[in-house]
């Protein structure tokens, strides 16, 4: 009998195969980046619940399943399937299926000059300098072993670059699909968005499963806003409920920039999402919102970090969780105010509604304040629907079931109503209603 292979060894062996053949023609800086990442992973391995950062989320089901990189082939995905996921959204889109870029499903025409939207592998050939300056520079390999794995296996992904002063009106859609044939595979979707000085853009990322396969999606997104830039990031996670979703979203903001981020988690059996936002220039503003709607045995773990590194910055954070059946939600919200980051204004709120007695939520605020002239507030709630609100609705003629649905919807709408632009908001509102009705 062969002994079971240690999960870490399995990934290291996979990396040797990857580096030996397919990784191929990468520039030296990228090879160094990958090498450093795999060495980091080799040193720390996968996290366990003994680590504070992973206390509530056991990744053993993820690591013990022997996922492999997809073979280089093109699973059949219809344009209708993509349209269905996008829900009528038009305009620029990059579509990836099981980790591979699919130009025939993508639309990159009609963009203003000064804007690049394409695959990372194309960009490596054309915009090597921009990539070398940003890729892997923000989502550090030290914080999270899954991020290190993503960087070690970095080969392709989405690249968006908005040049100085350019404003892109239409949302740019990045779609990462898992086909029905995704079972047993691990993919490492990767996104880099660079918004130059005084430029503006909206990026909508969708991670979705087209079937009910069990796979691992290990996504990393880096978002850079230069001075005076304004960007909106909407991220929709609708993986197969049998799938695992591990993710890191990292934003880095310059002076007077405005970033609005909204993450929605509806899918995956087990998901962990680390969101880190660094406010690295005076006057920067951040809206960091999130919503999870889970049922069955789903588990979501949001770890957010807002790093106020410079003075006069503002951050508003709202994460709501709607948990039914045996679902479990974890929220850890860390706010760091660095020495000298005076006049920081930061507000964090995490609300969880438990729709059954077996649903569970854990909420941990973590404030680390090293400046003395700041305003930081935080609050969290966990509980069933408010009985006073239910009674209030009933006294207006709304039946018990409809009243519960209305309050639950309101919980979601509290987050969704803050999403801009309106067409994306309306689409997500429809998605939320459909999810709540399921």
């Amino acid at each position: 009998m062969t002994p079971p292979v240690d999960p870490k060894e399995r990934y290291l062996a996979e990396f040797r195969r990857f580096a030996g053949n397919g990784a191929g023609a990468a520039p030296a800086w990228l090879e160094e980046l990958r090498q450093a990442a795999i060495e980091r992973f080799a040193a720390v391995g996968f996290p366990t619940t003994r680590l504070e950062e992973w206390r509530f989320t056991d990744v053993a089901p993820v690591t013990q399943t022997p996922f492999t990189l997809p073979a280089s082939r093109k699973p059949k995905v219809s344009a209708d399937g993509v349209e269905n996921i996008l829900g009528g959204a038009t305009g620029t889109r990059l579509v990836f299926v099981d980790g591979a870029f699919r130009p025939e499903l993508s639309i990159t025409k009609g963009l203003p000059s000064g804007v690049t939207v394409g695959s990372l592998s194309d960009a490596l050939r054309r915009d090597g300098d921009v990539l070398a300056g940003h890729l892997g520079k923000y989502a550090g390999i030290e914080r999270n072993p899954f991020t290190a794995l993503s960087t070690a296996f970095l080969r392709d992904g989405a690249f968006v670059h908005v040049g100085r002063g350019v404003s892109v009106e239409q949302p740019i859609h990045l779609v990462f699909l898992a086909s029905g044939a995704a079972g047993g595979h691990v993919v490492h979707p990767r996104t880099l968005v660079v918004v130059d000085r005084e430029a503006q853009a909206t990026v909508v990322e969708t991670y979705a499963g087209l079937g009910d396969a069990q796979y691992l999606s290990n996504a990393v997104t880096e978002f850079v806003l230069e001075e005076g830039a304004a960007a909106r990031h909407v991220r929709i996670q609708r993986e197969s409920t049998n799938a695992f979703h591990m993710a890191t979203s990292q934003s880095y903001q310059g002076k007077d920039s405005r970033f609005s981020s909204c993450s929605l988690a509806f899918g995956a059996g087990l998901s962990r999402h680390d969101l880190t936002s660094v406010l690295n220039g005076a006057g920067a503003e951040l809206l960091l919102n999130g919503l999870s709607v889970l049922a069955g045995g789903q588990h979501v773990d949001y770890h957010t970090t807002i790093d106020h590194a410079q003075p006069h910055c503002e951050s508003h954070e709202l994460f709501n969780g709607i948990l039914a059946d045996h679902a479990r939600g974890v929220f850890n919200g860390r706010i760091i105010v660095r020495p000298g980051a005076q006049q920081t204004d930061s507000k964090q709120t995490n609300n969880n509604v438990l729709l059954s007695e077996t649903a569970r939520a854990d909420s941990q605020p973590q404030l680390e304040i090293y400046a003395d002239d700041v305003k930081c507030t935080h609050g969290a709630t966990i509980g069933p629907l408010d009985p006073n609100a239910l009674f209030y609705l009933k006294t207006r003629g709304v039946g018990a079931e409809a009243a519960a649905q209305l309050l639950t919807y309101g919980f979601a709408a509290d987050v969704v109503s803050r999403i801009d632009p309106p067409d994306i908001r309306e689409r997500l509102d429809r998605l939320v209603r459909a999810r709540l009705a399921a």
Binding site: D386, P387, N388, A389, F391, Y392, L393, K394, T395, R396, G397, V398, G399, A400, A402, A403, L406, L407, Y409, G410, F411, A412, A413, D414, V415, S417
Partner: protein, 251 residues
């Protein structure tokens, strides 16, 4: 229309209403006054069906039906409306959305067709005018971040939209400045008709200058201790509540 007989109610095992008798006919306006803690708000909440109160004795009939056997939503659908003393905020749900959901629930229960958003907007515009509001408040989440006065006005807007047959106003005057008070009173008076009735629960006589009652009742220690015409309210304003002793107490 409403017949309350020997109503006893308690919360957490503590008896608050100790035998209330009150009869309200269509077309009438009744004021229920009384000192703090006399059970005024409990009476209003029990009539609306609040689950925190247990009715231990007595009966309430509304238009011939056993009101106490009806769920809160059935009472509302049958035309009973309570304007809350402390209206509840509902995050994420706009006033307009909530009002349409409520109106359509009531219409459906009455066998009427639901209103689509366009028809509803027309109804709403009309009612907004009646309470002197523009549409700023209808696109905000229900009562969220509203001032005390705005919440009370919002209760009256709901009442105007739902057009109840029996309206119970629980301390609707508290927290209102004089202009808001007049607007609220006007909206209530506009709903007065031979077919409808209103019960105004209040601690002060002030509101009754604008909503003139046909009958005034004084609730003391869970019972109606005295009933009279509108003159009784003025007498209370002048002398306070101390001179009225609970029924059956030895003077």
């Amino acid at each position: 229309m409403l017949e309350i007989r020997n109503l006893h109610a308690s919360a957490d095992g503590h008896e608050i209403l100790k035998g209330v008798d009150l009869v309200v006919h269509a077309g009438e306006v009744h004021a229920v006054m009384g000192p703090n803690g006399s059970g005024k708000s409990t009476l209003a909440q029990v009539l609306a069906g609040h689950p925190a109160y247990a009715v231990t004795q007595g009966s309430v009939r509304y238009e011939g039906r056993d009101l106490l056997a009806m769920d809160p939503e059935e009472r509302a659908q049958a035309g009973v409306f309570l304007a809350f003393q402390y209206p509840v905020a509902i995050r994420g749900v706009t006033n307009a959305y909530f009002l349409r959901a409520a109106l359509n629930a009531v219409r459906t229960a009455r066998g009427e067709a639901e209103l689509d958003p366009m028809d509803f907007i027309q109804v709403l515009e009309e009612k907004l005018q009646a309470i002197g509001w523009d549409d700023t408040f209808v696109n905000r989440p229900v009562n969220e971040g509203f001032s005390g006065g705005e919440k009370k006005r919002n209760e009256i807007l709901q009442m105007a939209v739902l057009e109840p047959r029996l309206a119970i106003l629980d301390e609707t005057d508290s927290g209102l400045d004089i202009d808001a008070l007049k607007t609220v009173a006007e909206a209530v008076n506009r709903l007065r008709s031979p077919a409808n009735a209103t019960v105004v629960v209040t601690h002060y006589q002030r509101l009754l200058n604008h909503i003139v009652p046909d009958f005034v009742h004084v609730l003391v220690d869970g019972r109606i201790a005295r009933s009279g015409g509108k003159g009784l309210a003025l007498e209370l304003e002048e002398k306070g509540y101390d001179w009225i002793k609970p029924e059956g107490a030895v003077a």
